[in-house]
Symmetry: C2
Subunit: 343 residues, 2 copies
DNA sequence: GACTAGTGTGGGAGCGCTCCCATCCTTCCG
DNA sequence: CGGAAGGATGGGAGCGCTCCCACACTAGTC
């Protein structure tokens, strides 16, 4: 508040006040060890007195790093997924970034046009790295970003053999755990409502379901498999189909809670009691599962932890400065069956 | 990929290629009218050929604007609110910002420490303005930000007479609409489960409830009012209390869907049928409402539209450059009753 | 036909940092 | 006791833009 000296103080002003050079202040700010204790204290005082905060734009320009990362979420998926999924993910990412003192740039991509604009942003060097949520099987974005020389970490993968670093939950394990639990409850005509099979996550859960049957010595039966699309309506449709084809089914593994909710509605309408006649298991452990009647047994994914892990991996990738070209890193986090009264 | 010329092309290189000066290229990029059509074309071609994208840091440094805005969400609230609330809000903000070609910096504030760090970010001039979600009654943050000279727009307000620009939904109208609907269905012992009364939104919905009763000529009755906290557990507690005090109640207006879900559970346990014995209305029109059994009548807020409006207001505020000190702007968006079978 | 008004245009002067080289002062060694 | 080897420090040279002033030119004006 020094009269004419409007605007925020600069490095130079701090230097003047502390009676040292610009370089020295910069060193103190950035924690370089090559500064005497005495000088460090003097500078720290000047910083405090002036309320100095380094200008981010200048830093980015001179140092060519932004201390910001982008999280990209396709809008279509944001609507579709179990509601709190992305919020939990964001929460995890945000927490980890805050610890590393980095900024989170959130990008919801709505259209092809917006996707291209996003690539422009990247080229404008606004961020040091990119996190990608729910990438589809044929999405070239990860490769494009790498071409720009930016580190990427994805949430989920596009296929079994994903070349780009990713963090995923154990979707196969999820399917297996669900089936194993149903088998343990004495069910042996277990159907499944899958997600859209062009998504790896859906295929993985289906794969887990099949593995679970095999492990229990139950024969696979394609009539017991029906494809949904992660929406309630899709769940209803798939359930009706299943009931048509196999009225004798005694359990359903739905690849998401929302689809399970749809399935539950259809089962009710068909006069089946849950869990007495048909046992039901979902995936996500969303609030919906808790509030359903009966409360839904569901496989929980550690979403927030996935977010944290992604952020951690990305930061590491950024720091190593694309030097060591070591193995692309992959991480698969375990899921957990939350048992409630729907089975 | 021109051999030695590593890194991204600069303004200067575009200028050289187009055979013009730096200033001219800058003018073309920024759409200044003072450029001949011919030059404009030549520059555009050079830009395209080189794949030039302006460096954001340099722009920010030279022009002292970042083309980014921050959206601040208190983490505590993020957990508490009806789940998709913030995602919808983000969606609206994001959409509007994308149109204006601005970046969204998302900040989840978890602790006092993080809040202070956030103020540092602001001081580092990373953003041109701030959007604040769910600010509490005694939160000094809006004023702090204004002191830094940054425009602010809030989602919701801290009190009836909020001095800072905000966008809110018509919470009073929400309460009134709910009560009016219940009255129209012949209910006259209408209880309410409120939110935490230190939040304006909770007080407003309660106020609407009371206004609705008055308008219907029903006497107010404090025994029919019980405070929840926007959680399911809080809804259950409040509902039990109400049932204790007034076993003869025939309708409940819960100030959120999640609390309504809690209330529904308690009502069931108490052997009341919904809607036959007790009619139920919630607020938010969240997915939970749709999936409940019976599906819940609920008052919808235009959350996404609130996000868009906030962003629009903020952008306007930024553009006018704190010149015209006109009235702080407030906007209250209408709510809508979505009737389902719970009443 | 000299004079005023514009239009386009070029390029200098920063914006506030980081990087890095040169300098100075110690300290330690033979 | 001279010289080598470091540690601490100052400050020049950018980073890639925007701003703005100066300088052509071109058209009009009396």
């Amino acid at each position: 508040m020094n009269g004419r000296q409007s605007g925020r103080p600069t490095l130079e002003q701090v230097a003047a006040r502390a009676g040292v050079g610009r370089g020295t202040v910069s060193r103190v700010i950035n924690g370089s060890p090559r500064v005497s204790e005495q000088t460090r204290t003097a500078v720290a005082r000047a910083v405090a007195e002036l309320g100095y905060v380094p200008n981010q734009a200048a830093r980015a320009l001179a140092g060519s790093r932004t201390d910001a990362i982008a999280l990209v979420i396709p809008e279509a998926e944001a609507r579709l997924f179990a509601e709190p999924y992305f919020l939990d993910l964001i929460r995890g990412v945000s927490a980890e970034l805050a610890e590393a003192d980095k900024q989170l740039l959130l990008t919801l991509v709505r259209s092809e046009q917006e996707r291209q604009r996003f690539e422009q942003y990247l080229a404008a060097q606004r961020v040091d790295g990119v996190l990608l949520a729910s990438v589809h099987g044929d999405d070239p974005l990860p490769e494009r970003i790498r071409e720009l020389g930016l580190p990427v970490v994805m949430n989920g993968r596009r296929s079994e053999a994903e070349p780009v670093p990713y963090v995923d939950s154990d979707n196969i394990g999820a399917g297996r755990a669900a089936v194993a639990h149903l088998v343990a409850r004495g069910r042996d005509r277990i159907a499944t409502v899958t997600g859209p099979l062009d998504m790896y996550v859906a295929r993985a859960r289906l794969g887990g379901y099949r593995a679970g049957l095999t492990e229990a010595g139950l024969p696979p039966d394609e009539e017991l498999v029906s494809a949904g699309d992660f929406t309630e309506a899709g769940g209803r449709r798939a359930m009706r189909l299943l009931l048509d084809r196999r009225p004798d089914l005694d359990a359903v593994f739905a690849a998401s809670d929302v689809m399970a909710a749809g399935a539950l509605g259809v089962l009710r309408e068909a006069g089946r009691r849950v869990p007495e006649d048909v046992a039901l298991v979902g995936v996500d452990d969303s609030p919906v599962a808790r509030l359903m009647d009966p409360p839904l047994t569901s496989v929980r994914q550690p979403i927030e932890e996935m977010g944290r892990t992604m952020a951690r991996m990305l930061i590491q990738e950024i720091q190593k400065g694309s030097a060591t070209p070591e193995e692309p890193r992959k991480r698969v986090l375990p899921t957990e069956l939350i048992v409630r009264s729907s089975c």
